[in-house]
Symmetry: C2
Subunit: 360 residues, 2 copies
């Protein structure tokens, strides 16, 4: 990402400080901090004011901060907040925004105890997350590469599936493949679950072995150049019966209906409703126990959420998942998920992988 | 882990409620919640009172909660806090502890707004973390298996190292091997860094290829049955020169001095001082930019910390790392790390891997 993209982002924030009645914004949440500075270390604070940006981190990251941070970095020998508060005082900041959803009660109280009485800490919710929802061309390019890497790894891994293979060995294979293809790591813990365990929406792979007659859910994503992808596909070992075929058809229709409802300006809840309505037609809506999708980018789950009660509207440039699923205890679960890019007139499905049930 | 081990843990907590002047304790931090209930899902709250324990989670985890939770599970259709507050009111709890270091300002304020005026939320810091520092025999058995898996994966991966291999391909290989050996996943992002990049204490593997004459740092851990391991070893491609040999010797002596200082009753800071003193003798103490070690268990970093300013004393049954390192910009970094178990008279080094510099 070009340095001036980070500068532009910081300028967007500093230009918005007055509107939020702030003299400065303290950014402590890792993905927001990376978005605004480029720094990826685990311990850092970023202070933005109209005229200055400064990143505080510790001596473990001296070299890394020099390489990654696109704004001035300060290495603190003790707690970062000591130097942060010194800067707040030196620059006479009176109203400093902070991220209440991402700062612990403890960290907040320790900061509050140090800052001068004249300075107010002002909770700012979701501002940077909102900026992050609409991806720039360079971010979209990274998400595309992440999605493609992920789909290639899926094909390489699935080619090895056969009865007797362990869930955890397929997960290991998929993650190994994505890394060999250039991903930094999986964007979340790969889900591989066979048979009845596929009914766990967040199943962790176990030592259970695949058997003939089993549904297998594979939910996987790559992290590439810092950006996430997310895809779910279903495999079947042997010849699928009527219930599997009918349920698969229902979920696929629901997923296509969800995708069809995506466009700039659409309500997130309307996309969810479109998918849910199809499942209701099959009497399966009660088995759809989560929301239809979520944004992704630097994080695997970021705004917007596409659930029943979500009030947001989609914007062109958002990268989101569409992933209805049904979960039937004692039978199994079926979920189909793509990563899509919202456009003015609809969406572009980024995930290139076929949505046919993979019969093995 | 036997169900009654979880019950015993909860009894230890409920027996301590009176001492903390509490009617109940709200546990929201994942590892603490797992430690006390067995549940591993991502969205849950655990409420403990003298007479009852109840786990709140959402419908995605209905089946998993039934399988994993060793106490009563309640599936909430909306926000978990609504049902939590209903229980607090029904049971007339007046003083409920919460974890201020692990709860966001936002989550706290939303909870505070819902609970009745008669109920006080009382910050409780590090209580469960403190209980977790001393491992039970079944936890030690798991840590042993995690350490052994990790060391086996290291040997399998290192056997493939040669000039031209990419850092990220070695990391992928190591993680693949540990999973094939039965680990759930790495306990943290595997660090593989060659040449000057080894001077980054928290280096992420890149596409850089190993070259002759390079130091390579490998810092890796497995997660097995929920428990972590952590080990750092150094490789050298070709024939190491005087500076590498001398620096390696200094770090190894420092690591052995640290290990030698470990015993039940020793101050954490004294272990750190023992390692640091050796490096001072070599004029390398300023290049040792982090603390000497940390506890590990369900988390890769948990109390105690073994740094300059840490006041805690070691206890028999603690699992800790001893990992001094020196980082010289433009030259590289050398760190040697074992996982050890604190005993009454000293410690048992769990890590079976040789600490010789691996010359390849």
């Amino acid at each position: 990402m070009a340095n001036n993209e980070f500068e532009q982002r910081r300028q967007t924030v500093t230009a918005g400080l007055a509107e939020h009645k702030l003299d400065g914004l303290l950014v402590s949440f890792g993905p927001n901090l990376r978005y605004l500075s480029g720094f990826t270390g685990s311990n850092a604070l970023l202070l933005l004011t109209a005229s200055r940006s400064i990143l505080f981190t510790d001596p473990r990251y001296t070299i890394q901060a020099g390489q990654e941070s696109t704004c001035q970095a300060h290495i603190s020998k003790g707690p970062l907040t000591v130097d942060l508060v010194a800067a707040i005082m030196r620059w006479r900041l009176r109203r400093v925004g902070y991220e209440p959803a991402m700062m612990s009660v403890d960290a907040f109280q320790s900061l509050e105890a140090k800052i001068p009485a004249k300075t107010a800490l002002v909770p700012i919710k979701g501002w940077i997350e909102e900026l992050r929802t609409v991806k720039s061309p360079s971010e979209i390019a990274r998400i595309r590469r992440s999605v493609e890497t992920n789909s290639q790894a899926f094909e390489q891994g699935v080619a090895r599936v056969k009865p007797g293979m362990k869930e955890q060995d397929l997960a290991a294979e998929l993650e190994y493949r994505m890394r060999r293809l250039g991903a930094e790591k999986p964007s979340f813990e790969t889900i591989v679950a066979g048979g009845e365990r596929s009914a766990l929406p967040h199943a962790q792979p176990t030592a259970a072995r695949f058997e003939n007659g089993q549904l297998i859910v594979v939910d996987m994503g790559a992290l590439r150049e810092g950006y996430c992808s997310d895809m779910t596909r279903m495999l079947f070992l042997g010849a699928p019966g009527t219930k599997v075929k009918r349920t698969y058809k229902a979920v696929l229709e629901a997923q296509l209906a969800g995708i069809d409802a995506v466009r700039a300006g659409a309500h997130s809840a309307a996309v969810d409703a479109a998918a849910r309505k199809v499942l209701r037609g099959y009497g399966l809506d009660k088995a759809f126990v989560h929301s239809t999708g979520h944004g992704l980018g630097l994080e695997i789950h970021e705004p917007p959420r596409l659930g029943k009660r979500d009030k947001s509207r989609l914007k062109a440039g958002m990268a989101i998942t569409i992933e209805p699923g049904v979960y039937l205890e004692g039978f199994g679960g079926i979920r189909i998920e793509d990563t899509v890019l919202v456009t003015e007139k609809g969406c572009e499905i980024l995930t290139p992988t076929s949505k046919e049930l993979r019969v093995i």
